[in-house]
């Protein structure tokens, strides 16, 4: 028996016992060995779901790749030849070296992965860093992180551990369908309800999670902000709000100039005043600077309503008013009756919801869905306002739960080490201490969380990760789409081109706006990613625009994904159970889960560490053979390509992934993130270890709370219990964004905006969500899982919309808009609201007719305001603030395929490819 987990983007990391007989995995079962954390709170056990329990089936599934393959004929033509590893690596190495010599290392592009675990990701990130290549930030591709939470709190990662759910009095399942997407955790919702909590499902469709709820609130797709703001209005009108919490935690007491709409800053009222010192109006002493080092206001008693005249540094006067007054005025537009007309939720239900939440411990379970709306940020900001008014964060059973990252310090430290061992770790940590000390000297009020952000920012400045918006704009064909203003928000006062060039010109993306227009991509790596299935904008966009520019497309995967089908070379990767790995650490779980090598990799498949170490060696050898020893990259760093093989393994210290993982674990233990004494053997014995700390880097620290061995972890306790400020511009939970672009767009406060007509003015809003039976496309080769449902792509639509179009359940239907089209089987159900259709995430394009999947109708629009930078907390961080492509509420229509004029036989639609 060995421990196994699956390192999937559900991010659960459920420990499984994997049983092997005669070298073959026989079956797996849920571990159920997690100790209870806190008395009276259910434990995490058993963890797992049907997807994890069927993992071993895929070890020998039909779509498994087990030999290096090279394309024969046209890309996507489906003909391959088996080649040796040496041939494959030599061909890839030569392509990389050619690209570097002719166009520089930024012509080598890697897509960051969200699947496969840390040991699948670290190797190619390491090679990219050594080459000076470009790595496309996964957040800018998949858009899982809640942008509105970042706008409000200065961080994406606000998630408590999942057992905190049990402590809530009211649970709002908002944009989340945990019965599908969080199966291992769902019991906490049921247990909370058994304890007496009220469960409210807020969704357009009557989803599987709504079935077990106390109240179902059916909201029209994309109008959640109107609903949330209407609830906020009721809270204020009925005086159900938490004034002390609002005053302490938020920017609502801060003063705004009525002439410019900007915050009143110290530099306004005194010469040489600080740009980032803000003010409030004290009921006794009048105008006062708001403290920046603490949320606590001490003697100050801010007035939350009124208008005052303030003398400016130049002697003139200006009128100011608190943000709270602006919020009240803004909410005037969201009276329940008015909002009901927008969001489709009856006014009485809105009022009921407000009264249900007021005075209770309320938690919003948001999932990864909200941010995928074009105006998802506004929805989330509105939800956060609801929580602020009801005092609902930083206390057990409260807060908002979207995707949160975590920290494994050893992983971060590894990239800074030049040799193995504890002494090198201490050297690196001592260096970081010096940097931290310097940061504290510059800003004595900076919290550990802010320091963590600064450290990550420093690392980013010299790293290879870049937000993909620039790559997509210049090289992948998105520019024309993003400039279609009829598909974007009507409040844009300029074209997208103008905004983007303005943002670059102002230096808001300095150092990461790459590759630029003049750096054409030549070699493209997809390692465990699947852009042709996933890319908002569709497979056609990439095949027509990006693919022809690429000399070499390399896919590393264990299965023949849609992207692999269109690659030049496919390298077979070992699957979980065949190699050592750990799941991405996230704060939901607060555990590091381990997956052991229960059996040998199938065929010729290899681990990513092995593959990229071998590729690095091959690059060095072939560079030396062509007399190429070093080059200078775009950041003016000299890259010694002839020794890249040795550098990859640090001179031989890290020849296999067990060495690497052991180092990460030991270093994490040394840094205090894992229990002292933890090693790979600890993981091998226990399968999963609870973190003991958040680490010293931003992703973990963003939760802003202490980790205690015997307590459920509740996010934001530092803010509420210790009054430590937020890492925002105003250092408070910030609802008012006074950036000129936000003011221009009318989004300085959370408001409702109709979803733009992405795809054209069509009657049905296409939404999506993770399916119950797969994580992305990973499970699409798993026959037992496919057998649990219809096993093919489905268009789920309402009875009335189906009837209006003459569609009956089981019909093949064509879904189309101005961007593209696809066909799939109709599933007609009363649980989907009229006007909405759902295509669950994960089906491969080649499961659709003509290999055209649901992303063909998604234009992949990005919101122009997310190009803002250098505004307090609105600045790029890896897996953080950046433009992200929307794919919810895309407008389409549906017709029976038989009536469509373009029905063609199955098979790939031909695309030009070199």
């Amino acid at each position: 028996m060995t421990w196994g987990t699956h390192c999937l983007n559900c991010l659960a990391g459920c420990p499984y016992r994997v049983f092997t007989r005669d070298g073959v995995v026989a079956f797996e079962e849920q571990g159920g060995t997690i100790d209870p954390v806190s008395g009276g709170v259910p434990d995490l056990n058993p963890l797992g779901c049907q997807k994890g329990s069927a993992w071993s089936v895929q070890l020998s599934s039909d779509d498994r790749v087990v030999h290096p393959l090279r394309r024969v004929g046209d890309r996507g033509g489906g003909r391959w030849e088996q080649i040796s590893w040496d041939e494959a690596l030599a061909e890839i190495a030569d392509s990389i070296l050619d690209a570097i010599e002719e166009d520089g290392p930024e012509s080598v592009v890697f897509e960051e992965s969200v699947e496969g675990g840390l040991l699948a990701q670290a190797p190619f990130l390491r090679l990219a860093a050594l080459l000076g290549a470009v790595t496309l930030d996964a957040q800018g591709l998949v858009n899982d992180l809640p942008v509105g939470q970042h706008l409000t709190f200065g961080t994406f990662s606000c998630a408590s551990t999942v057992d905190d759910t049990f402590l809530a009095d009211v649970l709002l399942l908002w944009h989340a369908n945990p019965a599908y997407t969080s199966i291992p955790y769902f019991h906490f919702i049921s247990e909370a309800r058994y304890r007496g909590a009220r469960v409210v499902a807020i969704a357009p469709d009557y989803n599987a999670s709504a079935v077990g709820s106390d109240l179902f609130v059916p909201v029209r797709p994309g109008t959640d902000a109107a609903l949330a703001l209407a609830v906020c209005k009721v809270l204020l009108d009925e005086d159900l709000w938490d004034r002390p919490f609002v005053c302490t935690q938020t920017d609502l007491p801060l003063l705004v100039r009525t002439d410019t709409g900007r915050y009143l800053r110290a530099r306004d009222v005194e010469r040489g005043g600080d740009e980032e010192v803000f003010h409030l109006w004290d009921e006794v002493t009048g105008l006062r600077a708001a403290p920046r080092g603490s949320l606590a206001l001490g003697e100050l008693r801010p007035v939350l309503s009124g208008r005052w005249s303030v003398e400016l540094a130049d002697g003139s006067t200006v009128e100011v008013t608190p943000v709270m007054d602006l919020v009240r005025a803004n909410l005037e537009g969201y009276a329940p009756d008015d909002a009901a007309a927008v969001c489709g939720v009856p006014a009485s239900t809105i009022e009921r919801l407000a009264r249900m939440v007021a005075g209770k411990r309320c938690k919003i379970l948001e999932g990864f869905n909200g941010p995928k709306y074009f105006h998802g940020d506004l929805m989330e900001r509105s939800m956060c306002l609801l929580l602020a008014l009801t005092g609902n964060w930083g206390k057990p059973g409260t807060g908002i739960q979207g995707l949160a990252l975590g920290g494994l310090d050893g992983y971060f430290l590894f990239s800074m080490k030049t040799k193995k061992g504890v002494e090198e770790t201490a050297r690196v940590l001592d260096g970081i201490d010096l940097a931290v000390q310097a940061m504290r000297e510059r800003d004595p009020d900076a919290t550990a969380e802010m320091i963590g952000i600064q450290l990550l920012s420093l690392a980013t400045a010299s790293g290879t990760t870049a937000p993909p918006v620039f790559f997509n704009y210049h090289h992948a064909g998105y520019r024309e789409t993003w400039n279609r203003q009829e598909w974007s928000d009507p409040t844009m006062s300029r074209g997208f081109d103008d905004y983007l060039s303005d943002a670059v010109r102002r230096g808001w993306w300095g150092g990461v706006a790459r590759p630029g227009a003049s750096s054409p991509p030549r070699v493209f790596f997809s390692v465990g990613t699947n852009p042709l299935r996933r890319a908002r904008g569709g497979r056609a966009k990439l095949l027509d625009n990006l693919w022809p520019k690429l000399d070499k497309i390399v896919v590393v995967d264990f299965r023949m994904s849609a992207t692999a089908l269109h690659a030049d070379i496919v390298l077979p990767a070992a699957m979980q159970y065949e190699r050592v790995n750990v799941q991405y650490p996230i704060t939901h779980m607060l555990r590091l889960s381990f997956s052991d090598a229960a059996t040998a990799p199938k065929g010729e498949s290899r681990t990513e560490w092995d593959i990229f170490a071998a590729l690095a060696r091959t690059i060095a050898e072939r560079a030396a053979a062509r007399g190429m020893h070093e080059y200078v990259d775009a950041r003016r760093q000299t890259r010694h390509v002839d020794r890249i093989g040795d550098d990859f393994v640090l001179g031989g210290d890290f020849t296999d992934e067990e060495d690497v993982l052991d180092e990460w674990v030991r270093d994490s233990a040394d840094a205090g993130t894992l229990p002292v004494g933890s090693t790979i053997e600890t993981l091998r014995r226990d399968g999963s270890i609870r973190f003991t700390g958040l680490g010293g880097f931003a992703p973990g620290l963003a939760v802003a709370t202490d980790v205690r061995a015997d307590e459920v972890m509740t996010a934001f306790r530092w803010h509420v219990e210790q009054n430590l400020p937020f890492p925002t511009l105003t250092r408070r939970a910030q609802f008012y964004i006074d950036h000129p672009w936000f003011l221009d767009a009318g989004e300085q406060l959370p408001v409702h905006k109709e979803p733009p007509k992405m795809g054209g003015d069509w009657p049905l809003a296409l939404t999506s969500g993770h399916a119950r039976w797969t994580i992305h496309s990973i499970g699409m080769g798993n026959r037992p899982l496919l057998g649990t449902h219809r096993g093919r792509p489905l268009v789920v639509l309402s009875e009335s919309d189906a009837a209006a179009r003459g569609v009956v359940d089981g019909d093949q239907v064509r879904v189309a808009n101005d961007h593209g089209a696809f066909e799939a089987m109709a599933r007609v159900t009363p649980r989907v609201r009229p006007g909405q259709i759902i295509v669950y995430n994960g089906f491969e394009p080649h499961m659709f007719l003509r290999w055209e999947g649901a992303n063909e109708v998604e234009p992949g629009m990005v919101k122009w305001l997310h190009l803002v930078g250098k505004y307090g907390h609105l600045r790029y961080l890896p897996f953080g603030w950046q433009p992200v492509p929307a794919d919810r509420a895309v407008f389409v229509d549906v017709a029976r395929a038989a009536e469509s004029p373009t029905v063609a036989p199955p098979g790939p639609a031909r695309r030009d490819g070199r």
Partner: protein
């Protein structure tokens, strides 16, 4: 001044930092591990000679001068009339030809991998020329000797703490159990001196040292 002396381990890189430190409580612990490691390395002629001349006892006494706790066990003398051949035979008898001093059974491979990783993380590797496997008690005591020295020699409080934690974890993870087996084996075999005495001294010392280090680390 004190420095370390490795027998079954070697540095993986050129030594860094200071190579000698003023004697203190920590170097005393290192010194005791050094003596114990050498004793449990073999029952050869040199060991016999040191036993006959009382050198083991002398070395232990000197090493323990600055120990922060008393070294349990007194003078360890050679059994009366024991010859060099009998000495070697008794070593083999008590410790199963040295087999009892290293791991056995199905878990052996994992144990060896585990201690190897420990050595490598702290800048050492099991010497190719060493007469003992990496999981031999003598090698493990050698490692503890080194960890104590590095703690004493470290100018970085962070690093000193890392070395100290490593001592505690290595003791609890590997050496306490092995020492208990050695004590039990000596008792079961009715071991003659000095083996009975040294086994008892080993068991008491590693237990006391573990308690001491754990106390310094706060539990």
């Amino acid at each position: 001044m004190f420095t370390y002396s490795l027998q079954g381990l070697e540095l993986t890189a050129e030594p860094t930092g200071v190579l000698e430190v003023e004697e203190n409580e920590t170097t005393a612990r290192s010194a005791v591990y050094q003596v114990l490691g050498a004793f449990f390395a073999s029952g050869d002629a040199t060991s016999f000679e040191k036993s006959r001349e009382g050198i083991w006892t002398k070395e232990l006494t000197e090493a323990a001068l600055l120990l922060p706790f008393a070294l349990a066990g007194g003078e360890v003398l050679l059994a009366a009339g024991m010859s060099e051949g009998e000495y070697a035979a008794e070593f083999d008898h008590v410790f199963g030809g040295g087999r009892l001093l290293a791991g056995t059974g199905e878990a052996r491979e994992a144990e060896v991998a585990s201690v190897r990783r420990d050595y490598e993380y702290f800048g050492l590797a099991a010497s190719e020329e060493a007469p003992h496997p990496p999981d031999h008690l003598a090698t493990e005591l050698d490692f503890l000797q080194y960890l104590c020295f590095k703690e004493a020699a470290s100018s970085s409080p962070r690093l000193a703490t890392s070395f100290r934690r490593a001592q505690r974890d290595f003791l609890s993870g590997h050496v306490l159990g092995r020492a208990a087996e050695v004590v039990a084996a000596a008792r079961a075999a009715g071991a003659a001196q000095p083996f009975a005495g040294m086994a008892g001294l080993l068991g008491a010392f590693v237990a006391d040292d573990h308690g001491y280090v754990a106390g310094l680390l706060g539990g």
